[in-house]
Subunit: 343 residues, 2 copies
């Protein structure tokens, strides 16, 4: 039988693309406010004229306000965004896509955000928003949260607010000092903690330790404290990387690169490298959370998007713990779905 929204769509077929584009515009304004027509047009890959037409209507409807510094989303606009999110996602097939991945990988929950991570700058923000919401919804007093580095994980920062829950501790899931300070686990935990008025623990250690140094470190109080945190991690927030990309970014030695290639490493998550079958083939020799510890944690939030990471996702989700909540973008989700045998 026909549902009301379906009937509506039949009677007004031209409504669907209009709703989608207008929703996208309003949503982007909300995320990037204050923002001007031209910047918005660039960001959404639309013409200035189209943006102008739509924003004029949105302004007339009181969902948008134009100030000297740019356009901002009104309270009513935000309410409309919230109310229509489910509908838009449903119509775009994102809900169905999410359910498909959820069932196939046996994950607790999958959220697919509309758009292409590589094409649209706002996608990263959307990922962060959804991930942050997932985290905030289930946060509880005194919990320990292990956090890895990366752009995807960093995107949560702006959406974390002080909550009713207290005594949250963010701990860097791995030690290590890379080039990009901004995206490092150590930096992120401090940012997250600041946003939520919470505590944090960092672990500044070189990434590539010799076997000797590694063993020596294990007895350091600073390290044992972290190990203790890892052992009691209630929640893990992590990204998923493609193996080559990660190895390069960590400027691994040519030797390591050779080993990775030899062993068929495809994906990387919290310092572990997995091959296409999801088997652990390598591990960064540094202090960090153990895979067993991740598996024991109550909640896992995995954030990763972009077509270039599809192979890595397919690899990692062969062994991903069932309590994982996975947040990705439309393009990646579709690419994954296409590769599945069920389609």
């Amino acid at each position: 039988m026909l549902s009301v929204p379906e009937a509506q769509q039949r009677l007004l077929p031209e409504m669907y693309p209009l709703l989608q584009s207008r929703y996208r515009i309003l949503q982007t304004v909300q995320l990037m406010q204050p923002i001007g027509r031209r910047t918005l047009a660039d960001s959404l890959k639309m013409t200035e004229r189209e943006i102008r037409k739509e924003t004029d209507i949105l302004r007339e409807q009181g969902l948008l306000d134009s100030q000297k510094s740019g356009m901002v989303c009104t309270d009513e606009g935000e309410a409309v965004i919230d109310k229509l999110r489910a509908l838009v996602y449903e119509w775009s097939g994102l809900t169905q896509l999410a359910k498909l991945l959820e069932n196939h990988f046996g994950l607790q929950h999958v959220i697919v955000v509309p758009g292409d991570y590589n094409e649209d700058d706002t996608i990263l923000t959307l990922l962060g928003k959804e991930a942050a919401q997932q985290f905030m919804e289930t946060s509880f007093d005194g919990q320990t949260v292990a956090v890895t580095g990366g752009k995807s994980v960093a995107s949560l920062a702006q959406f974390l607010h002080p909550a009713d829950t207290h005594n949250i501790t963010f701990v860097a899931a791995r030690g290590g000092i890379g080039h990009e300070m901004r995206m490092q686990a150590n930096t992120l935990v401090s940012t997250f903690a600041m946003q939520m008025n919470a505590q944090y623990r960092t672990l500044f250690l070189p990434e590539h330790l010799s076997e000797q140094a590694y063993q020596a470190m294990l007895t350091e109080p600073m390290v044992t404290e972290m190990m203790n945190y890892y052992d009691h991690a209630d929640c893990v927030i992590h990204g998923i990387g493609s193996a080559e990309e990660m190895a390069v970014r960590r400027n691994s030695s040519p030797e390591d690169l050779r080993i990775l290639e030899e062993k068929g490493a495809v994906s990387e998550a919290f310092g572990y490298y997995f091959n296409a079958e999801g088997e652990i083939v390598h591990r960064i020799r540094t202090i960090g959370i153990q895979f067993e510890q991740v598996q024991r944690s109550k909640k896992i939030i995995a954030v990763a998007a972009g077509k270039q990471k599809v192979k890595a996702m397919l690899s990692y989700f062969k062994v991903a713990p069932k309590q994982t909540v996975f947040i990705t973008d439309e393009v990646a989700a579709k690419a994954i779905a296409e590769g599945l045998p069920s389609l």
Copy 2:
């Protein structure tokens, strides 16, 4: 807080009139099928081009089918109409309007049909559809239904079908032979009965009887049988007329007209004339159902529409029994609402 349809309306304001007009077109096609563009355009007071544009879309959506003999509504089209009726009525404010009248007059149920009875030929059909549905919903075995004459009541005919309920008897609420045979109570009961495979009783009597003749008639077996039916009427289906109009149509004598005017008669229903305060000021001297008998019946369906009847409605509903279900058009309902003190 904002509801989803409200939010949708805010984001896509231009969809509202489109939905309304397209729904109206599809609905009219359903009611008048098979029908052509031009006839449809005339009927809805739209241009042929607009009709064409919309029907093209509806055809593309599979809600409409074009045959040589005209356009017809598909099963899917009918499903869409049913699904969206509540939404369209809600958005048009018809539901609110109906509730307003319901509360003010203290009636069981009020249905307001969109449009103007005087401008749009399909309104009459819509009235009939709703009224018939109301009747069919509550019909039961062995019930007696008293039916008056008039266009409004006649409109039910095409929507009555054989139901699960048996032994229904339609009885003409009044005797009388006028000019327009088609709209007479006697004709209608036979039509209704034919449509529903039911029984019927007619009463062919002159409308204007002398006191002597009237008294004589009361003892006739044919009349006493009818009186008995009236006494056990389970349902009454009637129209509401404006007093002048009715008097003229019944070509009353100049004397009667004078009396009516003198007594301030405004409305007419089942042979009774009411003044602006709802008091009975006159009665046609003929055999027919008594007001007390109407009041005792379980269900009363009143059908009346058009701006010219507003005064009559306001008059009659001052005394209308509470079990009345009233079906009218948008223009009349709005006119009534404007005259109410609560606005």
